[in-house]
């Protein structure tokens, strides 16, 4: 099949892309999204939230050292990781939903790679000028003072953005104001420095130099997303039937010999992925919709209707070509597939909210000690030992009393406590050794296994929680 004449080249250099400035509704939407997402990213670690004297007052904090995740009024312990798991599943389903409805909308608008590249291109344009000026600068072989000054200014500005990006990242993992002081006085932990270094380097290189290479060669998402699109998915497309044959109308030509596309290359010049949307669906397209803005501007100028390039379902491209009326976009968006995704997404969301509201701020788990399985005491009574974990998810120290609940009399003792009560410090987990003992003639002593329930009661406010376990007897 391969019949190309020249020997195939093994490696190819990246072809630099110089996206031209564009105005329009999608560009404005992208500016807005950039401001909101970057704002969230940079500001969040500095928000405060009062949790009492014992706990950190950072609104969003991933406290790896104490194994806690704080999100405003929510505090997640490691054993509650299913909340994070649920959120990740929701994020996944959310992406499925948006991809099946709107194609690679995540890539085009909200992906950090896209947002930061957009920001880097903005800086590039401010310093070096728009597309043509940048092209000239690139083609100029001689590194004169002007080129040097422009390049160094650009790189330094990028570096500044990269450092503040890497810097903001570490603030999520420890008290931000304290870390800021530590960083400024060069007292911060080496892990903070190395994290900032790595994040700075990746932001600088990915945003400044790799750009679309990250999407094309490194990121798995575009490939996965492509598998989730179908002919109902709205995506950026060129109306072939309307535009072709493309070209400028000459004086002596009849108006209907050419399509609406005047081959002005505006859509190609603004594309951050460096492709021509008129070639149809391609893997490089991140559906940023900037070509729509660019083309609409031209259509306005030449007095043709907008929408030569527009969000369109592949199905409609076919029906429009055949001269039929396209289906309304809403019908594409609200179809069985997206409704199933929405349903699943909401189901998990509601489930998580439910779990969040019913979870108690005391918690008990009981693990029977298996070595030995049971202990014969001097008077013949049978004793079992248990490791009981008590979690006090409260900002104050609390005192608990314990009680065993079974069909017959069971003696409950707590190692190191004479009265069977246990104190657990604020926001702490405490493991205690508990003994349950039944008499020599009790049913539980002769049976192999008997069900037991251990109750804890908060001595202050009477809150109760329980855990079920078993009692091993001689049988």
């Amino acid at each position: 099949m391969s019949d190309s004449q020249q020997a195939p080249q093994l490696y190819a250099a990246r072809e630099p892309i110089f996206p031209k400035r564009v105005y329009g509704r999608f560009r404005n939407l992208k500016w807005l999204i950039m401001i909101v997402t970057l704002g969230i990213y940079y500001i969040t670690p500095w928000l405060r939230w009062d949790r009492g004297a014992e706990l950190p007052d950072q609104a969003v904090l991933i406290d790896l050292a104490s194994r806690r995740f704080y999100f405003f009024w929510i505090e997640i312990w490691p054993y509650e990781f299913y909340f994070i798991g649920g959120l990740l599943i929701m994020a996944g389903l959310g992406l499925f939903l948006f991809t099946s409805a709107l194609g690679r909308v995540w890539c085009g608008y909200t992906c950090p790679q896209t947002v930061w590249v957009d920001l880097f291109i903005l800086v590039e344009r401010w310093i070096e000028g728009d597309r043509n000026a940048r092209l000239r600068l690139q083609r100029q072989k001689k590194w004169d003072l002007r080129k040097l000054r422009l390049r160094v200014t650009k790189w330094l500005t990028w570096l500044l953005i990269a450092v503040s990006t890497g810097g903001a990242w570490v603030f999520y993992f420890t008290d931000a104001p304290q870390l800021a002081v530590d960083l400024l006085t060069f007292n911060a932990h080496p892990v903070a420095w190395s994290t900032i270094l790595v994040m700075t380097a990746t932001t600088f290189i990915f945003g400044g130099f790799m750009r679309e290479q990250v999407c094309n060669y490194m990121c798995p998402w575009p490939r996965i997303q492509a598998a989730m699109m179908d002919t109902d998915t709205l995506t950026v497309a060129y109306r072939h039937w309307r535009g072709e044959p493309r070209g400028k109308l000459r004086k002596n030509e009849a108006p209907d010999t050419k399509g609406d596309c005047i081959d002005c290359m505006a859509c190609v010049n603004v594309c951050p992925a460096g492709i021509d949307i008129r070639d149809g669906q391609q893997m490089e397209c991140i559906t940023c919709a900037l070509c729509i803005d660019a083309c609409d501007e031209i259509m306005d100028k030449i007095g043709k209707p907008r929408g030569l390039i527009a969000y369109m379902a592949l199905k409609d491209e076919v029906s429009e070509t055949a001269g039929e009326t396209p289906v309304s976009p809403w019908k594409h968006i609200f179809r069985l597939r997206t409704m199933i995704y929405t349903g699943l997404w909401s189901l998990i969301g509601v489930g998580l909210m439910f779990m969040l509201f019913i979870r108690s701020d005391i918690d008990i788990s009981v693990a029977p000690v298996r070595s030995p399985v049971y202990i014969t005491m001097a008077d013949g009574s049978i004793r079992n030992a248990y490791d009981v974990r008590l979690r006090n998810k409260h900002g104050e120290e609390r005192s608990f009393s314990l009680l065993a609940n079974a069909d017959e009399a069971v003696l409950l003792e707590v190692e190191g406590s004479d009265d069977g009560t246990v104190t657990v410090a604020a926001d702490e987990l405490r493991t205690i050794r508990v003994y349950l003992t039944v008499g020599e003639d009790a049913d539980a002593a002769s049976a192999a296994l008997t069900d037991m329930r251990i109750w804890i009661t908060d001595e202050g406010n009477g809150d109760r929680a329980h855990a079920d376990t078993v009692f091993n007897g001689r049988g």
Partner: protein, 289 residues
């Protein structure tokens, strides 16, 4: 019309010739930066081989310029923990054992250290968690041969039981009654011991046995057979038997006697802090008095 790079005829590189269900693969070149990253990895690899231990030799490996070794790192880590533990160990050594529980931090330290010592040196005989085995006492019940207070346990761990290499060890020996008692006398003794420990036995035999017990056994095991921790004489009236409490096991014990030995851990070179820690650990396993 501009060349469409997705038309096969116009494509610069053609396809690889591979086809799966009509899907063909472009013979596109790799990105050049990818090649650079490959070379970078090679350079990194060479640097790594020079800096770190890498090439295997007959005895060991090339040391590497940085002189790094995982063993040295472990030794360093142990050293660091030893230094960090030193103040707690000193505090443990000067705190009376009975008072340790009042200092939760010290108690936690001692229990954790004691568990490590126990799982290294004691677990072979006394089993995981102090479950015990035939001839090796259970450490989690409330029956102690030589006493179950923290000081008793410390004494036992420190000097051992019936061990030869420690002058301060606690020592006792039960005579082998098989040497000077008839089989009938022994079986009557067995019947009596079974009776006082709540088992069914021949009452007439037990009657004879009670006099024999009073004459021969009560000096150590007590008139009532409740034992004596100062001589390590077991309580014969409870439900706990070190070597078994049925007729066969009791006959064997009375005929040939038993002689359980525990090593002296001070004589074996265990540090004072470790002995104290493991004593506290055992005391808090559930049976301590």
């Amino acid at each position: 019309m501009a060349a469409n790079k997705h038309d096969k005829e116009d494509h610069e590189y053609g396809t690889t010739g591979h086809e799966w269900d009509g899907i063909q693969e472009w013979n596109n070149p790799l990105p050049r930066w990818w090649l650079w990253s490959f070379y970078l990895c090679i350079i990194w690899g060479i640097g790594y081989v020079i800096a770190y231990p890498a090439w295997p030799l007959i005895n060991g490996a090339t040391p590497g310029l940085l002189g790094y070794s995982t063993r040295a790192e472990v030794a360093e880590e142990i050293e660091r923990f030893d230094v960090a533990n030193a103040p707690m160990e000193a505090l443990l050594n000067e705190t009376p054992l009975a008072d340790v529980e009042q200092n939760p931090e010290l108690n936690d330290f001692a229990k954790n250290a004691g568990q490590a010592v126990y799982n290294t040196w004691c677990v072979q005989c006394h089993q995981a968690g102090g479950a015990g085995a035939k001839g090796y006492p259970v450490l989690v019940d409330n029956d102690w041969l030589w006493g179950g207070t923290i000081d008793d346990i410390y004494l036992t761990v420190n000097h051992g039981i019936r061990t030869e290499d420690d002058m301060d060890t606690r020592y006792s020996q039960m005579p082998a009654y098989g040497d000077f008692m008839s089989d009938e006398e022994i079986s009557s003794l067995v019947a009596y011991v079974q009776t006082i420990s709540g088992q069914d036995a021949d009452t007439t035999l037990a009657e004879t046995g009670s006099q024999l017990f009073y004459d021969n056994c009560a000096a150590c095991h007590g008139d009532a057979g409740t034992g004596d921790i100062f001589q390590g004489a077991p309580d014969l009236t409870d439900r706990i038997w070190l070597f078994g409490g049925d007729e066969a096991a009791l006959t064997e014990t009375i005929t040939n006697a038993r002689f359980g030995v525990m090593p002296s851990w001070s004589a074996r070179g265990m540090s004072e802090a470790d002995i104290r820690a493991v004593s506290l650990y055992v005391h808090q396993l559930g049976g301590g008095e």
